[in-house]
């Protein structure tokens, strides 16, 4: 194993163990999206009566929301953990070791990715048990899991950047509503062509979160839609890349300050 891979493994292990040891950290992200899925999929069921609504199961339509909300929690967890490391001086001590910046970032997001994976499996299992039929079949289910993990990784990495930039857990927590706003102004509740308010439809159209949701949704309700998948995976990978880049730059700043 190369040196950098070893460093990533060690930091990722620490991140995973730290997340696992705090039930208060992982229980809400696991349960809250499921509760909302149960409540909203019933509360908004009437929307399936709208002409042009793509499915007669609002639950199937709404499943991707859970993955996205779980990803936002991953962002908060990864960010808060790193902010605590900044706050307690752990990052300063790491700076004295030969650990590479890239290893630190990739390893640090390990807890969020681990939790994101468990979340994705649980959400999908619950959806299937609740009667959701995935039109794209088993391959589609695997792809949904993969995209959900990528999205969790992307938002987790974004959380790292916010933590490095603000250097405080409070700073990370206070940005959570802003990230949640991205979810709220997306196509999570209705397909974009059924959103009748122009400004909202425009915002949902330029919001990358809409495309991540629509990629997962396409696999559940319509099968293999190449365009939706390319856009969804593309934006998820772009989110990871941009967040990593920003985090790496911010890490240099943070390290040089110490």
């Amino acid at each position: 194993m190369s040196v950098i891979a070893h460093q990533v493994a060690l930091i990722a292990q620490r991140s995973l163990v730290r997340t696992a040891r705090q039930p208060g950290v992982w229980i809400p992200p696991l349960t809250f999206p499921l509760i909302l899925m149960a409540v909203n999929s019933n509360g908004l069921k009437a929307a399936t009566h709208l002409p042009g609504f793509p499915t007669n199961s609002f639950l199937a339509f709404f499943v991707p929301f859970s993955f996205m909300q779980g990803a936002l929690f991953a962002s908060a967890i990864a960010g808060t953990d790193l902010a605590r490391d900044v706050d307690t001086g752990f990052l300063n001590r790491l700076a004295l070791t030969p650990v590479r910046g890239a290893a630190l970032l990739i390893g640090q997001v390990g807890g969020a990715v681990g939790l994101g994976t468990i979340q994705a499996v649980v959400y999908l299992a619950v959806a299937l048990l609740a009667g959701v039929h995935i039109v794209a079949g088993i391959g589609g289910a695997v792809l949904i899991l993969l995209l959900a993990i990528l999205v969790a990784t992307g938002f987790g990495t974004l959380g790292l950047w916010i933590a490095l930039r603000t250097g405080s857990g409070e700073g990370v927590q206070s940005t959570f509503p802003l990230l949640f706003f991205l979810l709220l102004i997306s196509s999570m509740n209705l397909p974009r062509n059924l959103i009748e308010v122009n400004w909202f439809r425009d915002l949902a159209t330029i919001n990358p979160v809409s495309y991540m949701i629509e990629a997962m949704r396409s696999l559940v309700i319509s099968g293999w839609d190449t365009q939706a998948l390319v856009l969804g995976f593309g934006f998820a990978l772009a989110l990871i890349g941009i967040s990593l880049l920003l985090s790496a730059r911010q890490l240099k700043v943070r390290m040089s300050r110490t």
Binding site: A46, L190, L194
Partner: protein, 253 residues
């Protein structure tokens, strides 16, 4: 008791204004929800059986107003828990000649804070083209209901905060309120809900407030006796809850 309440309310509001991080989230959450619901879901008014004359913006405004009221109370509960955690509440307990005034003081500050949120929310809704079918008396009724719900939220959170005396009790304050809110007819009228959520929403006390509030803004008041009766019962029950919480905090020292 009044002087204790006013003194504490003044202190709470001063702390609030000096910390935007405490003031902004309760202000932004309802605005974000309102934008999301009114903007993203307005097509729901075309669902067969959706019968609300003032439009979807007004329909959803009432829910967001009540939500902001409840969470205004809950967020104030965070402040109470923080006061206990940092030891400030102990000094309050020692210095207050009439300790029930503490609950009243926290309630006054929560109410003032929510009033500001309600003003901003209403302004945004009106700018956004919200139609109001009700007259001044109807609107007074709607805001009165929301105000009572703010007090209920505060009394609930206050009881929790004084029992646990730690900010870690925050999720316990929020989660039941959140569930109560979303297990009501949030997006469509009660008659359009089906399945288990219809059964739950029918017995949810918030449903009465929500239906009455929507009746007020639409100019067709409905379920008034039930809504105000439920509100009064909630206030009495949670006042008892908060007062017994204070008694526990007193015993704990």
């Amino acid at each position: 008791m009044i002087s204790v309440a006013l003194g504490l309310a003044y202190r709470q509001l001063t702390v609030l204004f000096k910390n935007p991080s405490l003031f902004l989230p309760p202000m932004l959450f309802p605005l974000m929800n309102f934008m999301s619901f009114a903007g993203g879901l307005s097509r729901l008014r075309h669902v067969p059986g959706f019968d609300f004359h003032s439009g979807y913006t007004a329909f959803t405004f009432v829910f967001v107003l009540l939500q902001s009221a409840a969470f205004g109370g809950v967020f104030a509960g965070f402040g109470i828990a923080r006061d206990f955690e940092y030891g400030f509440a102990r000094r309050l307990l020692v210095s207050a000649p009439q300790r029930s005034g503490l609950i009243l003081g926290y309630a006054l500050s929560a109410l003032t804070r929510w009033a500001m949120i309600a003003i901003v929310l209403t302004t945004v809704a009106l700018i956004g083209g919200m139609q109001v079918g009700g007259n001044g008396i109807d609107l007074f009724g709607m805001y009165a209901l929301a105000m009572i719900f703010n007090i209920v939220g505060l009394l609930w959170a206050c009881g929790v905060a004084m029992r646990f005396r730690s900010i870690q009790s925050g999720p316990l304050m929020q989660t039941p309120v959140f569930l109560l809110l979303f297990l009501s007819p949030v997006y469509v009228p009660l008659s359009l809900l089906t399945g288990w959520i219809h059964g739950v929403a029918r017995v949810n006390p918030l449903t009465f407030l929500l239906e009455a509030g929507r009746g007020f803004i639409d100019g067709h008041p409905t379920q008034l006796a039930a809504a105000f009766g439920v509100s009064a019962a909630l206030v009495v029950f949670f006042a008892f809850w908060a007062r017994t919480g204070l008694a526990r905090a007193e015993r704990a020292g």
